[in-house]
């Protein structure tokens, strides 16, 4: 284009020159007219002939009619003015028409060009958008694939965690059982030690007594010998009694550690309560040497036997007793010397059920906490001292045995738990 810039500039100069001429020399109208026409034609020819100006070719369509009409008018006015005057209106009309045509074409073409450009722009924009969209789509799909993978992984991790949690939960429940068993173990060891001592001691004594008896017989003291024989017999009975006692304790301990068979059997609830009361007491004593509490019992003789899973209900009683002992021990630590911790177990038969009440004169349960105590993992003990499972397991057990468990407590005074079982 630059080379044309110069050439076209000459045309502009020429045009200006003509204008100047026209205004300066009034007389040279015709000359200037023809020169102007030539100039314009020349310009049009250049446009027509050169590839470079292809886009401006519409100007030809616009301008050529005007050129032609104007040329004809000039020729006619030069050659035959009379003819021209005859047809002047027509020529002027044609001239006007040509001018209008020129501008019209110019406008229309311009608008067409503009619309084309717009359309092209739009098309380009759309294509750009499409490119962007496609790129985004591809990116999204990658992201979705990544997310899906993440989610699948998370799901697997969660499933694993859930499995672990369930396993841990059953472990905890088992360890709670073991903990209560552990509490029993020390008490049981002590419980067994006593009868075993008697077995040993009475057998030793009986041994000595037999020697004595032989002596008496040798010296003819039959009366004395018979008395000794009575003593020996008594001793053997005691040995038997204490041996059986130890045996029962061991059996009870084994039963407690075994997972419950869940079988309901007729059970003497008084004996059960008594056994677990003593076991709980000794167990706590073994853990805490300074522990002491007064135990009161009031067993209803008319209860007889009720159908329960003895081992499970026993565990419940043990749990209630352990809690009661803990409560009174805590209160004792905080109280002055005169405080006497008392834990009592009362059994009673009503017309259709049997109730076992464990009460203590400890610190009681604050009202805000009362509704939570049966919740699993809820405990008021310091970390590590309680799993918080005791009461929730007890609640489940009593429910399974067809009964109810209630709690009444007054802060500062004491607490009472009542188990009701169908008779």
């Amino acid at each position: 284009m630059p080379q044309w810039n110069n050439k076209l500039r000459w045309f502009v100069y020429a045009g200006i020159a003509l204008l100047v001429l026209h205004f300066a020399y009034r007389g040279s109208d015709v000359v200037t007219q023809w020169l102007a026409l030539l100039l314009l034609s020349g310009l049009m020819y250049i446009l027509y002939d050169n590839e470079v100006f292809k886009q401006a070719r519409f100007l030809l369509t616009a301008v050529v009619p005007y050129l032609v009409v104007t040329a004809i008018i000039y020729l006619l006015t030069a050659i035959d003015p009379k003819l021209y005057n005859l047809w002047k209106p027509w020529f002027e009309a044609a001239n006007s028409f040509a001018v209008i045509w020129g501008f019209g074409t110019w406008f229309i073409t311009r608008r067409q060009r503009k619309e084309l450009a717009k359309a092209r722009e739009r098309a380009i924009e759309e294509e750009e958008n499409n490119k962007v969209i496609t790129a985004m789509k591809a990116q999204l799909e990658v992201q979705v694939a990544e997310r899906t993978q993440e989610l699948t992984q998370q799901k697997e991790e969660l499933e694993l965690a859930l499995k672990e949690l369930k396993a841990t939960q059953s472990q905890l429940i088992q360890s709670e059982k073991m903990a209560s068993l552990g509490e029993l173990t020390a008490g049981i060891a002590h419980e067994i030690q006593n009868p075993l001592n008697f077995v040993n001691n009475f057998s030793e004594v009986s041994n000595e007594l037999i020697d004595e008896m032989k002596e008496e017989l040798a010296t003819g003291n039959q009366q004395e010998a018979l008395e000794i024989a009575d003593d020996i017999k008594q001793n053997l009975e005691k040995i038997n009694h204490h041996g059986k006692r130890a045996d029962a304790i061991v059996k009870g301990m084994l039963q407690h550690s075994r997972t419950s068979s869940g079988q309901k059997e007729p059970t003497d609830i008084n004996a059960l309560a008594d056994e677990y009361l003593r076991l709980a007491y000794h167990g706590l004593r073994a853990k805490d040497k300074s522990f002491n509490a007064e135990m009161k019992t009031d067993f209803d003789e008319n209860i007889g036997k009720i159908n329960i899973v003895a081992q499970d209900v026993g565990r419940v009683i043990l749990n209630l007793l352990t809690n009661a002992f803990y409560a009174v021990t805590e209160k004792k630590k905080q109280s002055a010397d005169g405080f006497q911790p008392i834990v009592s177990v009362i059994t009673k038969k009503s017309h259709d059920h049997v109730s076992i009440t464990v009460s203590d004169n400890g610190n009681g349960i604050p009202a805000a906490v009362q509704e939570k105590i049966f919740q699993p993992f809820f405990t008021t003990k310091p970390t590590g001292e309680g799993t918080g499972l005791g009461l929730s397991i007890s609640y489940e057990i009593i429910k399974t045995n067809g009964g109810e468990i209630y709690m009444q407590s007054k802060e500062g005074e004491g607490t009472e738990f009542t188990i009701q079982l169908p008779a």
């Binding site: 009475f202 004594v205 204490h242």
Partner: protein, 125 residues
């Protein structure tokens, strides 16, 4: 003659002692009284204070423990002051320490070695 008060919640202890010391009892060397709780023991002491020279007490008893009984006996200042020996299954350092602090004269573990007990009683009589 030595009067001994034996305090233990197990009733068969009485039969055991009476048989183990049958010779001594027959020879009037020793006389036993039995209390089955701390409260019973104190009641006996209040009645027969100066008679019981020796008290053998179990530590692990329901209600008043042997150590509490020991403390109360020492507080009451019976004249002459009785000798108190603790017999117990819990032979651990803590119990031993507490017993000594409260003024026990001896600390024996169950099962009772009667030979040893007899020696100690002879030393003390």
């Amino acid at each position: 003659m030595m009067k001994v008060l034996v305090v233990d919640d197990e009733r068969d202890i009485q039969a055991l002692f009476e048989q183990r010391f049958r010779k001594e009892i027959r020879n009037k060397q020793i006389e036993f009284e039995f209390a089955f709780s701390g409260e019973e023991a104190l009641k006996y002491l209040d009645l027969h204070g100066q008679e019981a020279v020796l008290i053998l007490s179990d530590i692990n008893m329901p209600g008043m423990s042997g150590l509490e009984l020991l403390a109360r006996i020492k507080k009451k200042h019976y004249m002459p002051p009785p000798v108190v020996m603790m017999i117990t299954a819990y032979g651990d350092a803590e119990n031993y320490k507490t017993a000594k602090e409260l003024g026990a004269d001896e600390f024996l573990t169950k099962p009772v070695d009667f030979k040893v007990l007899k020696e100690k009683l002879n030393i003390n009589s």
